[in-house]
């Protein structure tokens, strides 16, 4: 990280406070259905940010949404069948997702590139079929999935009722903010730098003693843990999970958010999911074109891969550079006058 000057630090602090204020005030400006979408958006931010951690090592998985589902199923079953308190069940669900990714890493990280992509796709489909399988209906509920998942208990003495989407939004906001902080710290630690090294120069990294398999597994497990946490937040909010919620189409949306946003920076995928969700809700819902949603996403994906291959984040960088350039020009223009 480059050193920041005092004024830069101040503007960062200001920006954080401003962002926090907007995020806290936002739900009060929205309608009930928009508040519900906002909750899902916050959960999706965690999903796509955790996905990015895996893409740092250069691998694109198609199993990420299924892993989110493993967290959702795990948390729902722990709370419903074992009667564990919901917050504990959520952590258990995320841990199950992490463990599952650990097991999956042994076959999957023998592959790279296309093979990894298709292998992860196959592994995810196997899991979805097992959820739907009639032989295991007693556990996973078959195609209908698990219903009546216990909600997050109310905090009585503060009279906070998590049935209200605004309150659940705040809960998610806290969980997701802490998770993003952890993900950010990991990326900017020595481990994160190793992930980058594996992405760009895996042979070189190996030759200086980096166990690339272990680091790939680590990235996979950590990203699965947070995807599982997102799944758990989803399960206890919606109250029902089923296999078709975690199908390849949902995975395609995660891919689109990440690609349209760009994956070179931490904020890229988050930018992607926020911009596309807002566009989706504002434009498509306003024009009553909900059934056009896949076409809209498909067209945006194609346009962005053709004309904006580095994602929305590259626009941000360009705007920044433009401002910096203008500042410099002004400085040089003012010089002769002095």
């Amino acid at each position: 990280m480059p050193e920041r000057s005092a004024s830069n630090g101040l503007s960062w602090a200001l920006g954080t406070v401003l962002l926090g204020g907007v995020l806290i005030g936002l739900p009060h400006l929205l309608s009930l259905s928009q508040q519900e979408i906002l909750v899902l958006l916050v959960i999706n931010v965690l999903l796509v940010a955790s996905y990015r951690l895996l893409t740092l090592t250069g691998e694109w998985s198609l199993a990420h949404v299924v892993i989110m589902g493993v967290g959702a199923y795990g948390s729902a079953l722990t709370a419903k069948k074992l009667g564990a308190p919901v917050p504990l069940a959520m952590l258990a669900g995320a841990t199950v997702a992490g463990l599952f990714a650990f097991l999956l890493s042994f076959p999957l990280f023998r592959m790279k590139g296309f093979y990894f992509l298709i292998g992860s796709f196959a592994a995810g489909e196997v899991v979805r079929l097992i959820w739907k399988w009639s032989e295991l209906t007693w556990l996973f509920g078959g195609p209908k999935g698990i219903k009546l998942i216990p909600p997050v208990p109310d905090i009585e003495f503060l009279s906070i009722d998590f049935y209200n989407p605004v309150n659940y939004y705040y809960l998610c906001l806290i969980v997701v903010a802490v998770s993003l902080l952890i993900l950010y710290r990991i990326e900017h630690s020595r481990i994160g730098l190793t992930f980058h090294a594996i992405h760009w120069q895996d042979k070189l990294a190996e030759s200086v003693g980096v166990d690339t398999f272990r680091y790939r597994t680590l990235a996979f497990v950590v990203s699965a843990f947070f995807a599982g946490l997102a799944g758990a937040l989803y399960a206890h909010y919606v109250g029902t999970v089923n296999a078709s919620r975690f199908d390849v189409e949902s995975m395609v949306y995660v891919l689109i958010w990440a690609i349209v946003g760009g994956t070179a920076t931490f904020y890229g995928p988050i930018l992607g999911v926020v911009v596309l969700t807002v566009l989706n809700e504002v434009v498509l819902r306003a024009l009553q074109l909900d059934s056009m949603r896949p076409m809209f996403y498909g067209a945006i994906l194609i346009v962005s891969i053709l004309f904006l291959p580095n994602g929305l984040e590259s626009l941000v960088l360009k705007v920044k550079a433009w401002f910096a350039g203008r500042g410099q020009k002004r400085a040089t223009a003012e010089q002769p006058a002095e």
Partner: protein, 290 residues
């Protein structure tokens, strides 16, 4: 398992192997020449099926004319993909794959808007069937698929081995730059490969439309099947794709008949995962392409 059931299952598996081979060979051809995994291949199959829904079931055009129209229509869709997506992204194979996902979503939405999400029922072109000894039945509708597969794949094989275009196509699949240096047009061979590859998926969809009840989302299971086959057969090998289609169709049909369809799907995917782990170049020994 009785002898009758065994023989009937073999007949069913032969039918399944036929349309699976048509789809998988198209996918392999596109991958071989373009270097792109076409994720929209299942939706090309769906487009072929809906051509028959519209022309044959809707407007009453004769079945075989509708099938031919399906081949041409989906082949043209392939040309559009080549021109609009794969050509600009030629140096970016992952980009081509991602763009094909976008195209898939667009095709799916068009089908939903044009026909609705419900299953379409296409009446069979003929009720006649061949009855073998032991009461084993093969309907004409299924026999059409088997015959069409043998004829089309045979023609493709001759085309690739004997014609000048075929040589150029295979040269481009082997080494694009060297082929270009010999004066072959990459754009031309790419167009040809996309038209044939997409057209084969379209024919498969058109021929099986009366047998499978088309929906806009039918491409999903098709692309999974196609992936299993091309991985097991060795990604980039046409002969491997045909052999793997036969192998997978028999495994799938027998497991479905003896146990159930979900288990058959799980077995197929596990087969693919095992091949990926043990021998990523495929069972039928194709050379690896970067």
């Amino acid at each position: 398992m009785t002898v009758e059931l065994l023989l009937q299952t073999i007949v069913n598996a032969t039918y399944a192997a036929s349309y699976m081979a048509l789809i998988a060979v198209g996918l392999v051809l596109i991958f071989g020449v373009m270097g792109v995994i076409n994720f929209a291949h299942g939706e090309l199959y769906m487009a072929g099926a809906y051509t028959v829904v519209a022309l044959y079931a809707g407007f009453g055009v004769s079945f075989f004319v509708a099938v031919a129209a399906g081949l041409v229509f989906v082949g043209v869709l392939g040309l559009i993909m080549e021109y609009a997506l794969f050509r600009p992204l030629r140096d970016n194979p992952l980009g081509g794959l991602i763009a094909s996902i976008g195209f898939l979503l667009i095709l799916q939405t068009i089908a939903v808007l044009g026909f609705g999400v419900q299953m379409e029922h296409v009446p069979p072109a003929t009720q006649e069937k061949i009855v073998f000894a032991n009461g084993v039945v093969l309907t004409y509708q299924r026999a059409y698929v088997i015959v069409a597969t043998v004829v089309l794949l045979g023609a493709l094989w001759l085309f690739l081995r004997k014609s000048k275009f075929g040589w150029a196509l295979r040269a481009c699949a082997q080494d694009r730059e060297a082929a270009q240096l010999q004066g072959m047009s990459i754009n031309h061979t790419a167009r040809l490969a996309m038209f044939i590859g997409a057209g084969l998926a379209g024919v498969a969809g058109a021929l099986t439309a009366p047998l499978v009840s088309p929906t806009p989302y039918m491409g999903h299971s098709v692309i999974i099947t196609a992936f299993i086959i091309i991985i097991v057969g060795g990604i980039g090998s046409l002969e491997g794709a045909v052999l793997a289609a036969i192998l997978y169709a028999f495994v799938y049909t027998f497991v479905t008949t003896i146990y159930d369809g979900t288990l058959a799907n799980i077995v197929g995917l596990l087969l693919m995962l095992i091949v990926l782990i043990v021998k990523p170049t495929g069972l039928f020994g194709a050379k690896e392409r970067a």
